[in-house]
């Protein structure tokens, strides 16, 4: 180890104020095909909310609405009481595929948002970026280009890139769906570890029941199109959660309930 050097004050690793996120009575349709009718939901500040959607329920459309990439036909999506838009500073979005910029190193990817916002000096931005890479366990990969990283590592860089802007709400669009089962379980645990540190509001979309149960404070089951929320489950599993959580009798009980609910939905779609 090098002898300790006098250090510049480091930017702090902290969440912004956790945001409130609300969908109010949203209708959305593609020509000739209604996707959502009267969809409402609310994520409390600091809550880990999972939207569990069987295939064909319009998950992608929902995320586009939640982030403001598309506007609802009627109703509102509110982030801290103002209409959502992709550039909203409190909004963090982790995509299904990492969407890293391939020409930038991991560090520069994480620094991107800080650079766009002109927040702090270059040295401060780099320090904060390194800190967030360390948070996802990738401080060593700072100088690597995305194609030199595995899929799981890329997704962790993407998470660090989003967290570096200290968003009040984190929208996560099946972020681990493309990864192998082992990596996926590991990243679920990492997500919880980071969330317990930063405590921002999370809205996490998945079609995987086990993933939903493991992560959620609350699960909303989406109904097939044209639909809204079909059911709601409070998941009172103890935190911190770890591998052993999946072995609990309570976990199995919840899984049975949720599975049965989804099976019902697929047998008898809500009347149009």
């Amino acid at each position: 180890m090098l002898p300790a050097q006098p250090k510049a004050p480091m930017p702090t690793l902290a969440a912004a104020q956790p945001s409130q996120f609300a969908v109010e009575n949203v209708d959305f349709a593609y020509p000739g095909h209604a996707v959502f009718r009267g969809l409402s939901l609310r994520a409390q500040p600091g809550e880990f909310l999972v939207l569990l959607g069987p295939s064909g329920c319009g998950k992608t459309t929902l995320l586009n609405l939640l982030a403001g990439f598309m506007a609802p036909a009627s109703g509102r999506v509110l982030l801290d009481d103002s209409p959502v838009r992709p550039e909203h500073p409190a909004l963090g979005y982790v995509f299904q595929s990492p969407q890293l910029f391939p020409w930038l190193s991991a560090l520069e990817n994480v620094r991107f948002g800080l650079r766009m916002a002109g927040r702090g000096s270059e040295a401060e931005q780099r320090a904060l970026a390194i800190e967030h890479l360390a948070l996802v366990g990738l401080a060593d990969a700072a100088d690597k280009l995305p194609h030199q990283l595995s899929g799981g590592m890329q997704q962790r860089v993407a998470l660090a890139r989003t967290l570096a802007l200290q968003p009040g709400v984190l929208l996560m669009d099946e972020p681990f769906a493309a990864l192998d089962a082992i990596t996926r379980i590991k990243l679920n645990e990492e997500t919880l570890r980071i969330w317990s540190q930063l405590r921002q509001t999370v809205v996490f979309i998945t079609h995987d029941i086990d993933e939903a149960l493991f992560l959620a404070d609350r699960i909303l089951v989406l109904a097939p199109a044209p639909g809204g929320i079909a059911a709601e489950f409070d998941i009172a599993l103890p935190r911190p959660r770890a591998a052993a959580t999946r072995q609990l009798a309570q976990f199995a009980h919840y899984r049975q309930q949720v599975s049965a609910c989804i099976a019902d939905l697929q047998l008898q779609p809500l009347a149009a």
Binding site: A67, F95, Q99, F112, R115, M116, H147
Partner: protein, 257 residues
Amino acid sequence: MTSVNHRWPRWLRPGWGWLSLPALLLGWIVVASRFPAYVLPPPWDVAAEGWRWLQQGKLGEQLWASLGRELAGFVAATIAAMAVGTLAGLYKGFRDFVTPLNGLFMAIPPVAWAPLTLIIFGIGNLAIIVVIFIAAVFPMTTTIQEGVAAIQIGAIRAARTLGANRRQLLWHVYLPASLPALTAALRIGFSQAWRALVAAEMIGASRGIGWMVAMGGQVGNSAQVLLGIALIGVMAWLAESLLFRRLDQHYQAWRPS
């Protein structure tokens, strides 16, 4: 550091590639030995011809004439292709409009325009530069357009959620993401321009490497023709290996495959 350090740069390392030029010269010597030197001169006669042109101070004149025209046409084509290619890449309607025209013009050998440009602009540099421009601009536009159009909507959305405004999107996402296509376009455009240049000079110039080849043919000086051909090849090779291939390889690392 991923790769093993070598003492020599890659292009200096031993390999079969080193045999190709000697083999060409050997083949040339063997074939030339079956003909009189005024029909097919051996390499040393061509070298002597080159020395004669150099001593008379006429070689540089031809090279500069050709290079100047090449550069003028190529730079103009690059600017036009960047403007049209970028717009066509960004806007689908414009792309649909431009694509058939591009395809049409690319199917026409550029030198076919030379007689027309000579009529319109008269004998001189401009007529030739216009032919070079036509040769380079269409393949370059297509390459840039495809590069810009291929930029993933996901990367744009990611940048937006990270707070990038419209100007920042152009500068920090669209530009770097289209650099590989741009360098590929430069490479293609330069070589297309060079081919067209030589052809056009053979028809309507009083200087330049193409003129040198054409004149050699008219006065029956085979050595002069071969000297011109060798210069055309060497110049193209230099531009390709010293400039464009390096530029291109710089972006290979992360180019989407």
